[in-house]
């Protein structure tokens, strides 16, 4: 009969309307910003730089300015300048550090490729999304001071990943200590010093401590 399809459809909408009065699960809308959904652990939005301590973020950045992320970044939103001098890192090794590390978040597309290619686990994905700024150029161009966040923050937002990263770094540190000890033993030196900073070999990928010419 003509019209049965229409009536059938109306029955569905009526069922949904009336059902919403007694079943709160039918309310699918979250009243942002009063209510907020819990972000999943995997959620990613914009990278940040991991520092070992919260007190001295600039002194304990994991980044050694190897510029791999700068080269791999699809929209080319990372700009790095290497330092002229070296600073000891968490293992006590002398390393180059980023004198300038800028990310233009108006260009960044949060693809996570910088995180995947980083050999030092120095850059990780953040979870902030309320980033409105009054100036679209300076306001969205984040420098290394704005980007640096401590490892504890990383543990807070991505606990599983942070634990895996810490385990990996600890294993690498143990391996380098073993190596240093073996090298020291080979030289028949009796003291088992854990990696003398002065004698430590340069980091993998680190080049001569010359400032690179500023990229385009």
């Amino acid at each position: 009969m003509l019209g049965t399809g229409l009536l059938q459809g109306l029955r569905v909408t009526a069922r949904n309307l009336l059902g919403s009065f007694h079943d709160p699960k039918r309310f699918v809308t979250t009243q942002y910003p009063e209510e907020r959904t819990k972000l999943p652990e995997a959620y990613r939005n914009f990278p940040f730089l991991v520092s070992e301590s919260a007190e001295d973020p600039m002194g304990t950045l994991r980044c050694v300015a190897c510029q791999i992320c700068e080269k791999e970044c699809p929209p080319q939103c990372i700009y790095i300048e290497k330092s002229r001098d070296k600073k000891p890192d968490a293992n006590g090794k002398m390393q180059i550090y980023p004198a300038v590390f800028d990310i233009d978040t108006s260009v960044c597309m949060s693809c996570q490729i910088c995180v995947e290619v980083c050999p030092f686990d120095a850059i990780e994905m953040d979870q902030v999304f309320e980033l409105a700024a009054t100036n679209r150029f300076e306001g969205l161009l984040l420098d290394r001071h704005a980007l640096a966040k401590p490892n504890s923050y990383f543990h807070g937002i991505h606990p599983t990943e942070a634990a895996a990263v810490d385990a990996r770094l600890a294993a690498a540190r143990r391996a380098s200590e073993e190596k240093a000890r073996a090298a020291a033993a080979a030289k028949a030196a009796p003291k088992p010093a854990p990696a003398d900073p002065a004698k430590a070999p340069a980091a993998p990928g680190a080049e001569a401590p010359r400032p690179s010419p500023p990229g385009p």
């Binding site: 019209g3 229409l6 059938q8 459809g9 791999e72 699809p74 693809c111 490729i113």
Partner: protein
């Protein structure tokens, strides 16, 4: 075609009517629909020449969203192109990623672990559900059912997006597949959630079909409208549900048997008339088959790594050679053509976008129909302008 019980759309004109019409018969009117028009699904423009309300000529104009995707793909590394493929057809980033990853894997002879193949099938079928659900909602919106069906469809889409977000970190721009597997592994909790969604989806489709499939207004608006003959569809290179609605049995999941698809039993729904209604029904039936594949894949997914341990992420270089690789995306055959010279980036990078090629038949479908029907016909082809213009 009129539905039984409805009078024919236009009564046969009597002699008086005819003389008045002849007298009033004026010039043809050229109307530019778009590029900013809500029912062109983005920045797409149709230059329609109208005789009264009937379309006598229709010229599709596109390119407003051109972003140089292919040239960027030639200038950046293989890995850096992956996030850009998300933005082709932004509803189906998972299948775009898979098509691109498959091309590079074939180019470099990269093996993929078994679990990753299953995970890719699961994600591709979730994407198919997502895309077809959205399409059904938009199609109904285009034909005048404003609001309700679209909101019902988006309610379900949200659940799939939540799954994508908890797995890949992003709702739409997943950037999840890698050369040699998937980026992260799915936890048992995630697989459980996907299974619960697959179990509940049939009920949603029942409700959706109860709401719409038998609806007389929908039938009157879509049956016999935009009929695509099978011969034209084949000669124009149309693929996907649009082709199958015309009765051509061509599904790359069966024809190519890529990934883990040969291990799953599923049917390929075919249409008989090739009109808008058939295109809608084929998609609904495809969703039901997708649910079956999903359940089967979630039940039989093997343990193991999701990434080949020998696969290289940093400093990836493909072997010299050329490859064309394609998969059955929700909109049709999405393919990537790559030529490698052994460097870190491809020498030539080309996308075969299903939306663009399906769109080429738009004029043939619209001729002789009213201007209101062109909106419904365009909706039934299922285009995403990000992919048409690239």
């Amino acid at each position: 075609m009129s539905v039984s019980g409805f009078p024919a759309a236009t009564p046969a004109p009597g002699p008086t009517v005819r003389s008045v019409r002849d007298e009033l018969h004026g010039d043809l009117l050229e109307v530019s629909m778009g590029p900013h028009h809500p029912s062109t699904h983005g920045v797409f423009r149709m230059v329609a020449t109208l005789d009264g309300e009937t379309v006598t000529r229709l010229k599709p104009v596109f390119g407003y969203l051109h972003r140089n995707h292919e040239k960027i793909g030639e200038n950046t590394t293989y890995l850096s192109s992956m996030p850009y493929t998300d933005r082709l057809d932004y509803l189906c980033s998972m299948t775009n990623n898979w098509a691109y990853a498959l091309a590079v894997e074939r180019l470099s002879g990269q093996a993929v672990p078994e679990r990753a193949e299953y995970l890719r099938v699961i994600l591709a079928e979730l994407t198919r559900l997502l895309n077809h659900t959205c399409l059904a909602g938009f199609l109904l919106q285009d034909s005048g059912a404003s609001g309700t069906p679209l909101m019902y469809a988006f309610r379900e889409r949200e659940k799939i997006l939540d799954l994508f977000e908890s797995l890949s970190g992003s709702r739409m721009m997943c950037n999840f597949q890698r050369f040699g597997g998937c980026r992260t592994d799915a936890t048992p909790a995630w697989l459980g959630a996907a299974g619960a969604l697959a179990d509940g989806y049939g009920r949603f489709l029942d409700e959706f079909e109860e709401l719409l499939t038998g609806n007389e207004i929908l039938m009157a608006r879509t049956q016999g409208v935009g009929r695509l003959p099978a011969a034209l569809a084949v000669s124009a290179g149309v693929t996907g549900p649009v082709l199958r609605a015309s009765g051509v049995d061509y599904d790359l999941r069966k024809v190519d048997g890529y990934g883990a698809y040969p291990r799953f039993a599923f049917r390929v729904p075919l249409g008989a008339h090739g009109d808008v209604y058939d295109r809608y029904m084929v998609r609904v039936l495809e969703m039901r088959e997708s649910i079956g594949i999903l359940r089967e894949a979630l039940r039989t997914i093997p343990d193991g790594p999701v990434m080949d341990p020998k696969a290289k992420i940093r400093g990836f270089r493909a072997k010299p050679g050329e490859v064309y690789s394609r998969i059955e995306g929700p909109k049709g055959e999405i393919g990537f053509y790559l030529i490698s010279e052994g460097g870190p980036n491809p020498y030539r990078y080309r996308v075969r976008p299903p939306s663009l090629i399906n769109l080429t038949i738009l004029e043939d479908l619209c001729l002789g129909h009213t201007i209101a029907d062109t909106v419904v016909i365009l909706g039934s082809i299922d285009i995403v302008l990000g992919e048409v213009d690239r």
